[in-house]
């Protein structure tokens, strides 16, 4: 009997765990996707625990990176890890912790993740597309995540802690092998030597410091990292929705909770009915709302949205806050009323302090509403005014422009505030939702 009980407990608990795992798997999986290097999506097997965890997707979404193009004759590239490939593919040189120097070369480098540390001279101008162009300077020093010269650079001196040379064509090798030690069939190694490459090669380097003297020009532009603009607009919309909602809802909830007046029950009933079908009715009213706003010249304006959102949520939030106020004893505000306080004073000094948890719940609802609304924002705003939701939605419609990894990171950044707020007010929301019968 006891053994049977134990067996059942183990079996049922396991089943409960497995089903929970299945139900929560999508959210977990999208989280792991956001932590994988961009473009490394498996198509043949599931990787349940990501091997190479990286925050690069979040960094790219939040901050983006600076890309650029530098043309110069004289340069010093201090690199952690570089590969020099001969343009005729006769050899391949790997440099660890080394330097690549050119004096009379003509080099054109593509750069990414640039941070300029020091610069002397040159005329700077910002072009229409936001990119920056600096022409003719004496000196520039910068950090660069990636440096590559696809066209090949001649006359370079290569030195490094460790240089590994892989030779593909021994006969026509354009470099002196005397400084190298043979370590494999076609591989040679040199430690701490300086090697001159007259014919040069293509350069591809990671983690660099690039120094250039008398450079011709450098062009820089920012890629990605535009989420702040969307986030700012979403935040403005959400916070204004909170403010307006509280202004509209607190007085009416007080009134419904404390005052007896003609039409009270009817209005309450009308509000309740509306909360049940608001989703469908909202879409039904959309055609006219759109027409109305066009006529009033209120489209493409993010400040209009909070008004509409807070107005639409008046019935639900009034019910929610009224329910909370009903649970607070009337003694205090009636005493204040007897003492001759006005209704506004009662709300301000008696009710708001006591009803703070209920008000916070309404505020959180309003914030989530403003932060997550998509349909109206999508309909009314054009690109320069997009909030986060519309930005995400347009990206989903055109997935070629962004990797799923970065997209997952962006979507999680969008969802996180809502998730946190939900946790903060979980109990209220749960009772509120079951009471109002609303979901979604």
């Amino acid at each position: 009997m006891r053994k049977g009980e134990l067996g059942r407990t183990v079996a049922m608990t396991l089943l409960a765990l497995v089903i929970m795992g299945l139900l929560l798997f999508p959210v977990y999986y999208i989280f792991t996707i956001s932590l994988k290097p961009s473009g490394a999506l498996a198509t043949t097997h599931l990787e349940l625990i990501p091997k190479n965890i990286t925050l690069e997707n979040y960094r790219e979404i939040l901050f983006g990176h600076e890309e650029g193009l530098l043309k110069t004759k004289e340069f010093t590239l201090t690199t952690k890890d570089a590969v020099i490939t001969d343009s005729l593919n006769r050899f391949n040189m790997e440099v660890k912790n080394g330097k690549i120097q050119g004096r009379i070369s003509s080099a054109r480098f593509s750069l990414s993740d640039i941070k300029i540390k020091e610069r002397k001279g040159g005329t700077e101008k910002t072009r229409e597309d936001g990119s920056k162009l600096i022409v003719g300077g004496q000196y520039i020093l910068m950090k660069a995540g990636r440096v590559s010269a696809v066209l090949g650079v001649r006359n370079i001196n290569v030195s490094g802690e460790e240089i590994i040379l892989t030779v593909k064509d021994t006969k026509n090798l354009p470099l002196d092998l005397s400084k190298f030690k043979k370590i494999g069939n076609n591989t040679y190694m040199a430690k701490g030597e300086t090697i001159f490459l007259q014919q040069g090669g293509k350069i591809n380097a990671r983690d660099n410091i690039l120094e250039a003297k008398n450079f011709e020009y450098i062009m820089m532009s920012k890629i990605g990292g535009n989420v702040w603009g969307y986030m700012k607009r979403s935040l403005i919309i959400a916070l204004l929705t909170v403010l307006l909602t509280l202004l509209l809802v607190i007085p009416s909830a007080y009134s419904f909770s404390r005052l007896k007046f003609f039409g009270r029950e009817h209005t309450l009933y009308f509000y309740l009915m509306f909360t049940q079908v608001s989703g469908g009715l909202g879409i039904a009213g959309l055609v006219a709302l759109y027409g109305m706003l066009v006529k009033l010249h209120m489209t493409n304006n993010i400040y209009v949205l909070p008004i509409i959102y807070s107005a639409g949520s008046v019935p639900f939030n009034t019910w929610l806050l009224k329910g909370y106020l009903d649970s607070i004893s009337t003694d205090f505000d009636e005493a204040a009323l007897v003492d001759g306080a006005s209704y506004i004073q009662i709300i301000r000094h008696v009710l708001i302090p006591m009803a703070l948890p209920g008000i916070a719940t309404v505020a959180i609802f309003a914030f989530i509403g403003g932060w997550t609304e998509l349909i109206l924002a999508n309909l009314l705003l054009s690109e320069e005014n997009y909030p986060l939701t519309v930005w995400l939605y347009t990206m989903l419609a055109d997935l070629r422009s962004i990797s799923w990894n970065q997209f997952a990171a962006a979507a999680l950044i969008f969802a996180l505030p809502v998730f946190i707020m939900f946790l903060l007010s979980q109990n209220y929301i749960r009772s509120g939702l079951t009471l109002g019968g609303l979901k979604e």
Binding site: R8, T9, T13, A16, I19, M20, L23, L24, F25, P26, I30, L41, A42, H45, L46, L248, P251, S252, S255, L259, F261, F262, Q276, V277, G279, G280, G282, I283, A284, G285, L286, V287, A288, L289, Y290, G291, V294, I307, G312, V314, Y343, T372, L374, T389, L392, Y393, W404, F407, A411, F414, V418, F419, F422, L423, Q426, R430, L433, T434, K439, E440
Partner: protein, 300 residues
């Protein structure tokens, strides 16, 4: 007393006025538009060379009833209500019973974690599922390939498989709600009642049908009506998932697309479609409420 009424009205008025102006007025205005020829050129602003905005009577409604797209959307909306509501109730009951079972250890912890879908914005959830169902990199098709299905369905561009996907998504979105309602209903069954039934010699089946189900059925019916209304108003999920693909599968989406998703928008027809959808929904809600109230009367 009259002073009190004036004060109450003054306090209610800002909220009520905003609500009436931005919600009720557009709905009434939409009803008017449904009886006009509002379309590209004459709505919202009349262009000089476009046909004049005018009253056309029941023209748009006649059009809707004979339009194959509308009929399709109407039919499929009800199919979706039937399939998704059945799934939601079955899954909801199953999960509630499982996570209420006395042999399961750590129920509270699981229940707390299981409502996570509720805490996520809908847009995010649909994006997550859009990724799950992605034909190339989505885990669902990867698993299907792993178990030997070489040509797994295209969940994102095939209307049939997409419909299946939408059902799954809706169940996932709604199970926290269903589970919460049904679990609290199950917990409201007094233990003493069940113990009494056991003493009286009732077996498991008898206890279930004679004691548990009569107490639990009312909240479940209530939740079912609410969730079926949500299914009928299904709009955001198909819109985000693949709006173009499902436009003649869901009534609200069909109406929306007629106005905002077409090269030649016809707002009158769109408003008529949405008005019909609203009336059908209202009738459905009234009838279901009546039926459950009738039950209440019969029990009393």
């Amino acid at each position: 007393m009259r002073k009190r009424t004036v004060a109450a009205l003054a306090l209610i008025l800002p909220g009520l006025a905003a609500f009436l102006f931005f919600n009720i007025y557009p709905i009434l205005y939409s009803i008017y538009i449904a009886f006009t020829n509002a379309q590209l050129g004459n709505f919202p602003i009349q262009a000089p060379d476009a046909p004049k905005l005018q009253f056309v009577g029941l023209e748009n409604f006649k059009w809707a009833l004979s339009d194959s797209g509308f009929r399709n959307a109407f039919l499929w909306t009800w199919i979706f209500v039937a399939t998704s509501v059945t799934l939601k109730v079955v899954v909801g009951v199953f999960l509630s019973v499982l996570y209420n079972n006395k042999y399961v250890k750590g129920k509270f912890f699981y229940r707390a974690l299981l409502i996570i879908p509720w805490a996520l914005p809908l847009l995010f959830s649909v994006m997550v599922w859009r990724f799950m169902f992605d034909p190339v990199v989505g885990p669902i098709n990867i698993i299907l390939k792993d178990i030997g299905i070489m040509n797994p369905p295209d969940w994102t561009t095939s209307a049939t498989w997409g419909f299946v996907a939408l059902n799954i998504i809706e169940v996932w979105l709604a199970y926290p709600f269903m589970m919460t309602v049904i679990t609290s209903a199950l917990q409201s069954v007094p233990d003493t009642l069940i113990e009494a039934a056991i003493i009286d010699g009732a077996n498991y089946w008898q206890r279930l049908t004679k004691v548990v189900i009569p107490i639990v059925s009312k909240p479940i019916a209530f939740a079912t009506i609410l969730t079926s209304a949500a299914s009928f108003q299904y709009f955001l999920v198909p819109f985000i998932y693949n709006g173009g693909l499902f436009q003649d599968r869901f009534l609200l989406l069909y109406g929306y697309m007629k106005a905002f998703g077409s090269a030649r928008p016809h707002y009158g027809k769109a408003a008529a479609v949405l008005l019909i959808a609203t009336i059908v929904l209202a009738a459905y809600m009234l009838i279901s409420m009546k039926i459950t109230k009738l039950q209440k009367g019969a029990e009393a």
